[in-house]
């Protein structure tokens, strides 16, 4: 005769046996589900709008690039816009991530206290600049300078495919738009990384120093791995803003219905959000409006997909250092 397995006690139930906790838990749960419900509502609303678009265009709505609404039959496809949104975000991230990390490392580990405080305030202020102002700044001030940089890039690095430019027009390029996005992302990523790095436990920094680390090795093996999750979170926040950014890009990007695959300093590119805002004021009717809403739905999906992929990449690379 064997002994019966001991009964496993339910620890979860015991953990919430305090009445205040129970009430609080319910409130939090309800709030969380409300947020989810709102999100789902938006998705369903936008999703329904895609029906007319798909009925008329089929799958080519997301695989081709065109916007000829007044022809018969009308053709519309947003592939170039979807791709453009991602390209702009990538350009923005390539500039913003190193800049933000350097800025936050400088403020946390190198700058004298007063300078660090000043920088922190300045960067937090930057996050508060409305994007329309940034757009105007980019249009009037950044554009002429950026034109010059791009000319130089083309002149000296033109043999690299991404720096080709056949038209001689250096305005309205993905590079300028991506640069503006970088300026919007830098304050977000910097603030988050700064907070995270500043919370590196002093005993780990001490341990690292007592093992003869330099600032660089301490950052690389201790502080950055420790703050990795938070920094990645900051980058995701910035990325979310970049993918959805509308008005600032509207000022500096020439929307073209062709896919600009990689020529980042060639005039013309795409962005779903900017497509929507540029057409919205002059829609030709119900049909075009539903196309725009459908485009919005796919921007929403794109954002989700990019986030999921990014999270997967992060999870895969997050192994312990051997």
């Amino acid at each position: 005769m064997s002994l019966a397995d001991p009964e496993i006690r339910d620890l979860k139930a015991a953990a919430t046996s305090h009445r205040g906790d129970r009430v609080f838990n319910r409130i939090i749960t309800v709030a969380a589900f409300t947020a989810l419900a709102v999100l789902a509502g938006i998705a369903v609303f936008l999703g329904l709008q895609t029906i007319p678009a798909f009925q008329s265009q089929g799958l080519s709505f997301i695989t081709t690039t065109a916007w000829d609404i007044n022809t018969d039959p009308p053709t519309a496809g947003i592939w170039g816009m979807l791709y453009g949104s991602v390209l702009l975000a990538v350009i923005g991230l390539v500039i913003a991530i190193p800049a933000s990390l350097l800025l936050s490392i400088f403020t946390v580990f190198l700058a004298p206290r007063k300078l660090a405080a000043g920088l922190t305030n300045l960067i937090d202020l930057m996050a508060a600049i409305p994007s329309v102002i940034l757009g105007l700044w980019a249009f009037y001030i950044l554009n002429p300078t950026a034109e010059e940089w791009q000319r130089l890039l083309n002149q000296y690095l033109g043999w690299i495919p991404i720096f080709q430019n056949a038209s001689g027009n250096f305005l309205g390029t993905p590079f300028i738009a991506g640069f503006v996005l970088a300026i919007m992302m830098i304050p977000i990523i910097t603030s988050v990384s700064r907070e995270v790095l500043a919370r590196t436990p002093p005993e780990l920094i001490n341990a690292s120093e007592s093992l003869g680390s330099s600032l660089w090795t301490m950052l690389r093996y201790v502080a950055l791995p420790y703050g990795r999750g938070g920094i990645v979170g900051g980058i995701m926040l910035g990325l979310g803003r970049a993918l959805g950014e509308t008005i600032a890009v509207f000022f500096v990007l020439k929307i073209v219905f062709e896919v600009n695959w990689y020529q980042i300093i060639e005039s013309g590119g795409g962005s779903v959000a900017t497509l929507i805002v540029s057409r919205f004021g002059e829609v030709s009717g119900e049909f075009e409006l539903s196309l725009l809403l459908a485009a919005g739905f796919f921007l929403f999906v794109l954002t989700l997909v990019v986030n999921v992929i990014a999270n997967l990449i992060v999870a895969r690379t997050g192994r312990l250092q051997k």
């Binding site: 690292s208 093992l211 330099s214 090795t217 301490m218 093996y221 201790v222 420790y226």
Partner: protein
């Protein structure tokens, strides 16, 4: 023990340390001369002069807050990393003042390792990764990483407990295991001096004894300076003892120092006698 061999240190057998050995005749590895320390405007240590003979164990004892941790941190230039920290006097190591302008603090910290009061393994690394962390952090090149891992973990008395899970996260270890891991980590960069700030305060009696054994073993190759609140421990592991004391609102200073047997058996100062017999405050 193979640590000595792997270090290529000439293993001239120093006489086994017994209480009667004339430690004072040994070569001096490290010494401080008239060291005073400030945090901002507050002076917390005054005029500390101690000699640390080669391959000996020196215990620093004294009541809480008298500046033992502060002192030990001046010995490998960790003190200067605290904002507002200041120092006067000199710390001599290998015939040179480690605070001289042309001395590289990173080299000093490599030769003078440290184990802290609170176990602080790197949570983002595996157990093995932790042992080897110093090599990465300092850019030191050593071959045969597997051997280093086994050797140092054995020396720290942890090998048998972790040999089957070297790839596990260091965060999984118990406090006492983590502390022994940290000792192994400090040994992997082959320090000549090992500073230990209350290394056993988080450990159970069995782990404590293990670490004391480790200390005795290590002292054949390495000069050890250990802060401890445990009088029996000071007696068990150390050759020499320095007693620190700080009067209220005064900087701490060394009241008495010498052979451990003398400090505990025949102290010259009444305050030392009271302290080592647990009659204090």
């Amino acid at each position: 023990m193979s640590i000595a061999e792997s270090k290529g240190v000439d293993t001239i057998q120093t006489p086994a340390v017994t209480d009667s050995s004339p430690t004072t005749d040994r070569e001096i590895e490290m010494s401080t001369q008239d060291v005073s320390v400030w945090f901002g405007k507050r002076k917390v240590l005054e005029g500390v002069s101690i000699d640390f003979p080669k391959r000996s164990v020196t215990a620093l004892i004294g009541p809480s807050g008298c500046g033992k941790s502060t002192f030990i941190r001046t010995l490998n230039r960790l003190h200067e990393l605290i904002p507002g920290a200041a120092l006067a006097g000199s710390v001599m190591y290998e015939g040179k003042d480690i605070y001289d302008r042309d001395v590289d603090p990173v080299q000093i910290r490599l030769k003078i390792g440290m184990v802290f009061q609170k176990p602080n393994p790197f949570p983002s690394m595996t157990i093995r990764g932790n042992v080897l962390a110093g090599l990465k952090l300092s850019g030191m090149k050593r071959s045969n990483h597997d051997d280093i891992v086994e050797e140092t973990l054995r020396a720290a008395g942890l090998w048998n407990e972790v040999k089957d899970r070297l790839g596990a996260a260091a965060g999984e270890l118990s406090g006492g295991q983590a502390q022994r891991l940290v000792i192994a980590r400090a040994l992997a960069v082959q320090p000549h001096v090992l500073l230990m700030d209350e290394p056993c305060s988080a450990l159970d009696p069995a782990s404590t004894l293990k670490i004391e054994e480790t200390i005795r073993d290590l002292s054949k190759d390495v000069t050890i300076i250990i802060v401890t609140h445990n009088m029996q421990q000071a007696v068990r592991v150390s050759d020499r003892t320095a007693f620190f004391l700080a009067a209220e609102n005064e900087p701490g200073h060394v009241v008495e120092q010498g052979l451990t047997t003398e400090i505990f058996g025949n102290p010259q100062d009444q305050r030392t006698l009271d302290y080592v017999n647990g009659r204090f405050g």
